[in-house]
């Protein structure tokens, strides 16, 4: 009913942005409450926001065809994609620390150069997994990218076994966030676009 009313009064191109901003509320709550995590949230959010470009290469036309308010020229992507990734990055990075009131400090057993290599290896494994799942196994792009982040996560856990528990709990916590926000977010973002891929 609410969706029907929204459809009647809100122009189509606002829905994706609106759905993204619903997720942004969660990001803002964590950001405002946990001052100690702000700097890190901004860093990881900025980095992950770059993955908004994957809309053009992976998702658009294969998974869905969203309607953007701020479409980028020459690309099948919009500002909303970058904003969505920005919020995902910050929430995913800080969710466990926020819920369990964990306070982090600089205390890595690896030096910066080694950490860069681990991150590079992680991205390489994740990227390879996407293409392997999609082109060799024929799995839809949404599951391919999902398995890619799981594969990347496993690489990280190989080097930092102490993060196994937080990672698994983070998986569950994000499910909770999606359950709380996802329905409204999906209702806002998805009714007016075409989904083109299933499992």
């Amino acid at each position: 009913m609410l969706l029907l009313l929204m459809n009647m009064v809100i122009p189509d191109q606002y829905f994706y942005l609106l759905g993204t901003l619903i997720l942004g509320i969660f990001w803002l709550v964590i950001f405002l409450i946990r001052r100690d995590l702000r700097k890190q949230m901004l860093k990881i959010s900025t980095i992950i926001s770059l993955f908004g470009l994957t809309e053009h290469f992976w998702y658009y036309g294969k998974y869905w065809t969203p309607v953007w308010l701020f479409k980028l020229p020459y690309l099948n992507a919009g500002l909303e994609d970058f904003l969505l990734c920005f919020f995902y990055g910050g929430i995913a990075a800080a969710l466990y620390e926020f819920v369990f009131k964990v306070h982090l400090r600089k205390n890595s057993k690896y030096k910066a150069a080694k950490r860069e290599k681990i991150v590079f290896l992680t991205l390489l494994v994740a990227l390879t997994t996407v293409y392997f799942c999609e082109y060799f196994l024929g799995i839809g792009i949404i599951f391919s990218t999902g398995w890619a982040t799981v594969a990347g996560g496993l690489v990280l856990l190989f080097f930092r076994k102490d993060l196994l528990r937080p990672s698994i709990i983070n998986f569950g916590l994000m499910l909770g966030v999606v359950c709380l926000s996802g329905k409204a977010q999906q209702d806002c973002s998805f009714p007016l676009c075409t989904r083109t891929s299933g499992i």
Binding site: Y88, V102, H103, L104, G140, V178
Partner: protein, 40 residues
């Protein structure tokens, strides 16, 4: 037809939830490894 719709909606929800949760699984540790943080 309704059965097919149910399967489609179920599939959409499954892939949506899996995608969201897997992002958290991968990005969570990425944050701590990349910036060298630990709670210990």
């Amino acid at each position: 037809m309704s059965h097919l719709s149910g399967v489609f909606i179920g599939g959409v929800l499954l892939e949506e939830y899996f995608w969201h949760a897997s992002m958290a699984f991968g990005i969570g540790p990425l944050f701590e490894v990349a910036f060298g943080y630990s709670d210990r």
